[in-house]
Amino acid sequence: MTTDRAATPIEILLAEDNPGDVRLTREAFKRGRVATNINVANNGEDVISYLRREGKYQLAVRPDLIVLDLNMPRKDGRAVLAEIKHDPDLDCIPVVVLTSSDADEDIVACYKLHASCFISKPFEVKEYNEVIRSIEEFWLTIAKLPKHCS
């Protein structure tokens, strides 16, 4: 939508089971300046499979950034984060935790598991859009992202 968009869109894996939030997030990124390719995994197991290109994700592209919700079915977001950070092929990918929780325990636990940042989902839609725009602004324009981990 903007002229200085990069040739290759940035790959984002959105780990989110709530379709409402998926919609909100997609919409928000769509309105952003950076070209993004949003892939969605609806549960924890799918997230791991996607990252390891297992099963139906054999052709999946390695994401530049992971946006992770903590409350997901089958495999909890914290477990997913731990697995990512213990995998030498994946551990350098930044993980932005975006969750409805604002509990101290969750915040501490996530950072201990080397989450790149922890963001509570705001209640108001306007604020939610602001958050997404901030993520885009910081992680996709200001921050330099690694192309590979090994």
Partner: protein, 523 residues
């Protein structure tokens, strides 16, 4: 003196008798001796004066007829008086007519001199004129010694000593006789007392020998023994009774103890159950809050999206309905947030540390700076103590109470005063405001979660603030209450246990802790 005190009574008696005798005899003896001495001297003077006169009388003729031979013969008769030392006869012209002397050589003697003089040693010399028919025919001189006095004194002393010795001997014999009547009863008593003291056998009795004072004493002693025996028996019985009672009480106590132990076990079980259920409840509240948040946010978000995107495309009624739904969702969200916060008090392992309340109040002032400014609140405080607590919770406590005071303000700008006073082992804090006050009927209710007194159009809020305060104070071991009248302002009180060395900590020591905590709390 000690030795005399420790000697047996018999010896004391003898000593007393002998001493009495000695004093009596010696006093009497010496008294008589002195009296006799005086009398004897007087008599001696009289005797020798008479003797001199006789000698003079016998010699009137010898002097008249100047007959030394006859005179000498006369004087020789004085040989019969051994105490006469010397006698001389003088003519009227002072020349010596005749002389008799016991001693050889004789002493010189002279007619001239006093009528009576004490000469060499203890001798006395008398001079008398020899008178015949009213005329002096010569002078006679007679010297006698007074050895008789000392001889007599010696004799007297010997008699006194002899009497004393004899009397002592008799007294000793008499005392020995009396021993039976005085010493025997006493030694009987002493012996009996010794047996009683040694064996604690109160059945023995001292033999009563006489009916005198000692007899009375023995009787009294025996009487005393009887009483002791009686009270001893009673004491023994009482002791046995006491023992029995103690044994009984011990059994009772053991039963009681067993019961108490059972009760305690039951209590512990209950406490454990309670802790478990409490933990479950907290976990439930937490999970529920989280899990409720997400769908609620969906409802809210998409209601908002509808309101945004279909604005003007629906009729006014639809807009109103959407408004109610959004408001309900927002309030529900607030309730969940509050519930979450409430459940968080004590849900985590918190570290209690010395917390300087002055610093806490400073932080609260900073946290509420905007509100304080807007409401033109005057917040004052006295010096506040250091307490042992979780600083963030204390901050929340003060903040909630102060915010409450501001929220329920009247028409005037709020004035809030915070104080703390020491009451024994406790600090009593007060937060007083000049707000609308609280009807005493509601003083209990306001500390219960979600209890509100006012409709939400006048005062916003979920009614969680004071419940959280109550929970924080309770967890610190204190209690919280309010004193107020409707329309007359309100004063919230709460008590916190005092630290032993509260005054020892300086305010700056924990500033970094406060700072860190506060940053976190004020997110």
């Amino acid at each position: 003196m000690r030795t005399l005190r420790d000697t047996p009574i018999r010896k004391k008696l003898i000593a007393i008798v002998v001493a009495t005798l000695a004093v009596a005899i010696l006093l009497a003896g010496f008294g008589i001796m002195i009296l006799d001495g005086i009398l004897f001297r007087t008599r001696m003077v009289r005797d020798f004066s008479a003797l001199t006169k006789i000698v003079a009388d016998l010699n009137t003729a010898t002097l008249s007829f100047d007959d030394p031979q006859a005179a000498r013969e006369t004087l020789m008769a004085l040989k019969a008086r051994p105490h006469v030392v010397q006698t001389c006869l003088f003519r009227t012209d002072g020349t010596e007519l005749a002389q008799y002397s016991r001693e050889v050589p004789a002493r010189a003697c002279s007619a001239a001199g006093p009528t009576e003089e004490i000469s060499a040693g203890d001798d006395v010399t008398l001079r008398r004129p020899v008178m015949l028919d009213g005329r002096q025919v010569g002078t006679v001189l007679l010297t006698y010694d007074r050895t008789e006095v000392s001889e007599r004194r010696l004799l007297f002393g010997a008699v006194v000593l002899g009497t004393f010795t004899l009397a002592s001997l008799l007294a000793f014999l008499l005392t020995a006789k009396l021993r039976g009547s005085i010493e025997l009863p006493i030694s009987n008593l002493a012996h009996t007392a010794a047996i009683v003291a040694e064996t604690r056998n109160y059945q023995v009795r001292a033999e009563k020998v006489s009916d005198d004072e000692l007899g009375l004493l023995t009787g009294a002693f025996n009487e005393m023994l009887s009483r002791i025996q009686l009270s001893d028996r009673e004491l023994r019985r009482a002791a046995e009774e006491l023992e029995a009672r103690v044994a009984e009480r011990t059994r009772e106590l053991e039963t009681e103890l067993a019961e108490r132990r059972r009760a305690e076990e039951a209590l512990n079980r209950q406490a454990a159950e309670l802790a478990r259920s409490n933990a479950d409840l907290q976990q439930f509240a937490y999970v529920a809050s989280h899990d409720l948040q997400e769908p609620l946010r969906m409802v809210f978000s998409y209601m908002n999206l509808i309101a945004e995107q279909y604005s003007g495309k629906l009729d006014a009624e639809a807009d109103e309905f959407i408004g109610y739904a959004v408001d309900g969702a927002r309030r529900m969200r607030q309730l969940i947030t509050d519930l979450l916060e409430y459940s968080r008090v004590g849900s985590r392992d918190q570290v209690w540390q010395p917390t300087h309340c002055d610093k806490v109040l400073q932080d609260v002032r900073a946290n509420l700076s905007l509100t304080l400014e807007e409401s033109r609140t005057v917040l004052t405080s006295s010096t506040l103590p250091v307490i042992l607590a979780e600083p963030a919770q204390v901050t929340q406590l003060f903040q909630n109470l102060i915010a409450n005071g501001i929220k329920f303000r009247g028409s005037e700008p709020p004035r809030i005063h915070v104080t703390a006073t020491r009451e024994g082992e406790w600090w009593k804090f007060s937060v007083a405001d000049n707000g609308i006050g609280i009807d005493p009927a509601h003083h209990q209710r306001i500390f219960i979660i979600f209890q509100r007194l006012h409709d939400r159009t006048s005062y916003a809020g979920t009614g969680i603030g004071l419940a959280i305060c109550n929970k924080i104070v309770n967890r610190l071991g204190g209690r919280i209450w309010v004193e107020s009248e409707a329309g007359g302002g309100a004063t919230f009180y709460f008590t916190i246990p005092a630290m032993n060395s509260a005054t020892g900590s300086g305010p700056g020591e924990f500033s970094d802790i406060y700072g860190r905590r506060n940053d976190q709390e004020t997110e």
